[in-house]
């Protein structure tokens, strides 16, 4: 069941909401138990058999967590470390089995390590990467002494809560544990319902009106990576880039809105990433909770370990001592590459995901080395125009780097990605520059210039076929991406998320509980419903 479907909107969600607030009349624990049941039903709607896997995984992790928190283990650090190791291994085993074994075997076949008949196919349980990571994080937190007062029902709610079960955000127990323990969370408040529904509709519109209409055409482009000349290839790459943006951003908004309707606040996962001015900034805006998770559980411990060792070896942490190539290598490059490789293969077993991670590793290393060794404080005394120009360049370069990596991310193989990227730099020839039909109409009044641009030289063209993304529809989407405030800024006054957001959007686009906003969002919702029949599954459901 996807959020953008009639079954979800008109059957599942109303039943889940009414049941929740009715159960809350009996007691908070009953309400949360209802939430767990509803979430399991939500998961079962996709494949009932895997509910067993999910339930076993929850029981296993809760048991290990309890053992880690048992008071008699406080002292014996060694036995606790061993227990944590068993717990993490117990989580990774099913993940490897379902997600990576098939790919590993086919690789083994390709280098004749196993016989060609030996095949193994299994469907990937939805959201397994997400709930596996969430629960490993929980075990690490238990190891550090957190999450003591959570019972099994609340723990199950933390893992299964349907708004984020399948595609994140990836939560830590401290994000949501206190809210589940607070009986006030499940009290019916119309404020929560109206804020939640508004946020949800904005996400739904992104998904249904902006992302899904591009799905088909993007599929065509990436299915024939070598067949197009330069500008057409660019159109396909850009179309995928905005499709992914609105798909993921729409999902994140819907998750926030749904959680809010149940009185639960979750952190934002997406903060206008294409407005980033460098790659470090990008990773603090794109899939924020994955970055946070990997930083916390992988990058930080690794970097701390290396730094502590360096200090014991007689180095200090001062700026001077860190500005050497050796220090840069061990303190920055090693942890970054390990983290990004893991981030890559987290998305899947293909080599293109590994390369996507490596590309971002290279980007981040360049970014960090520029910060460390590059010139400082250039352009402090420049004029406003020059400064604005610099910002545009920074955003542009960052976006191009992200786009190149996204082509790798979307392509069916590394070879296909290279074909696409080759096409983008003109290796398959250069075609006429695509412009929207309306721009061409304006040009038509220019007489000879128009003749020159479209005539024998064939410099401009209006892409006619349906199989090529329309330049105007892409331009509209990039306008929304770059020029408009994002949903959390629009809603900032009413703090619908766990993340503190600055309320600095234009007043016209600041949400208010007024009839005007209700009408506008109502119309948007109606338009979404009319387009619902062509919805596609969320791109992040495959991870």
């Amino acid at each position: 069941m996807v959020f953008a479907s009639y079954n979800f909107l008109f059957i599942f969600l109303p039943i889940a909401l009414v049941g929740y607030y009715l159960a809350a009349k009996v007691g908070a624990t009953q309400a949360i138990a209802w939430l767990v049941l509803a979430s399991l039903a939500f998961y079962a709607a996709w494949n009932p058999a895997f509910v067993i896997l999910l339930v076993c995984s929850i029981a296993f992790n809760f048991a290990i967590g309890r053992m880690l928190l048992a008071p008699e283990r406080e002292e014996g650090t060694k036995s606790r470390n061993r227990l944590l190791f068993i717990g993490v291994a117990g989580n990774l085993l099913p993940l490897v089995f379902f997600k990576y074994l098939g790919a590993m075997l086919s690789f083994a076949r390709s280098i004749s390590l196993v016989s060609p008949e030996f095949d193994f196919k299994v469907i990937l349980p939805l959201g397994i990467s997400f709930f596996t990571f969430t629960q490993i994080g929980y075990l690490v937190d238990c190891h550090d002494g957190e999450g003591k007062d959570l019972d099994i029902i609340r723990y199950a709610a933390f893992v299964t809560f349907f708004p984020y079960l399948i595609a994140g955000p990836i939560l830590h127990i401290r994000d949501i544990g206190p809210q589940l323990l607070n009986p006030d969370s499940c009290r019916l408040r119309f404020r929560n319902l109206s804020i939640g529904a508004s946020f949800f509709i904005m996400g739904l519109a992104k998904k249904v009106l902006l992302a899904d209409p591009l799905a088909e055409v993007v599929g065509i482009g990436f299915a024939h990576p070598g067949d197009f000349r330069m500008f057409t290839t660019w159109l396909y790459a850009l179309a995928y880039s905005v499709q992914l943006y609105f798909d993921f951003s729409g999902y994140s908004d819907m998750a926030i809105g749904l959680a809010c309707m149940f009185g639960i606040r979750i952190p934002i996962n997406f903060n206008s990433p294409y407005k980033s001015r460098n790659i470090i900034d990008f990773w603090q805006r794109w899939h924020i909770t994955l970055t946070r998770y990997l930083t916390l559980l992988l990058y930080n411990p690794l970097a701390m370990y290396i730094t502590r060792r360096r200090m014991r070896a007689g180095h200090d942490a001062s700026h001077r001592d860190n500005r050497t190539v050796g220090a840069f290598g061990s303190l920055v490059v090693v942890p970054i590459f390990l983290t990004m490789i893991l981030a890559g293969i987290w998305h899947g077993a293909g080599f293109q995901f590994l390369l996507w991670g490596l590309m971002h590793g290279v980007y981040l290393t360049i970014n960090h080395s520029w910060r460390m060794f590059g010139p400082k404080a250039v352009g402090k005394d420049w004029g406003r125009l020059a400064k604005a120009g610099v910002v545009v360049c920074k955003v542009g370069v960052t976006y191009l780097a992200v786009l190149a990596a996204q082509v790798m991310f979307r392509a069916s193989s590394v070879g296909a990605a290279m074909q696409m990227l080759g096409g983008m730099i003109g290796l398959h020839g250069i075609d006429a520059f695509p412009v929207p039909g309306s721009a061409m109409t304006v040009l038509r009044h220019l007489g000879p210039l128009h003749k020159f641009l479209t005539g024998a030289h064939h410099l401009l063209t209006v892409p006619g076929e349906d199989s090529v993304p329309a330049p105007a529809s892409l331009a509209l989407r990039f306008f929304i991406v770059w020029a408009l405030p994002n949903s959390q800024t629009i809603m900032a006054k009413f703090s619908p998320t766990l993340t503190a957001i600055r309320d600095n959007g234009p007043r016209l686009l600041t949400w208010q509980p007024t009839a005007r906003w209700a009408l506008a969002l109502g119309i948007l919702f109606a338009v979404c419903l009319m387009c619902l029949h062509q919805t596609k599954v969320f791109l992040y459901f495959q991870f």
Partner: protein
């Protein structure tokens, strides 16, 4: 050691790591306010603080810190535990 003293010593560590002699720490200061204070320098600040005060932080403790003031409080509580 009292909080103002911790703050003063912490200022020295921050200035050294971030290479900014004019940096002034306040309890409300966050990483978002200081451009050089990124994930890399954060690790260095934490490691230098550990060495300076002779304490060790846990991953979960560090994640919950919202600003410099809370960092000072954490150092304070760690030191009290040590001397008990």
């Amino acid at each position: 050691m009292e909080s103002p003293e911790i703050m003063e010593e912490l200022t020295g560590i921050f200035r050294d790591v971030l290479n900014d002699e004019s940096l002034k720490l306040t309890p409300e200061l966050t990483a978002a306010d200081v451009p050089q204070w990124d994930s890399f320098n954060h690790i260095n600040i934490v490691a230098a603080t550990e060495v300076h005060f002779g304490i060790k932080f846990k991953t979960a403790e560090l994640e919950q810190l919202r600003n410099v003031g809370e960092f000072v409080k954490l150092i304070d509580s760690k030191q009290k535990l040590k001397h008990r």
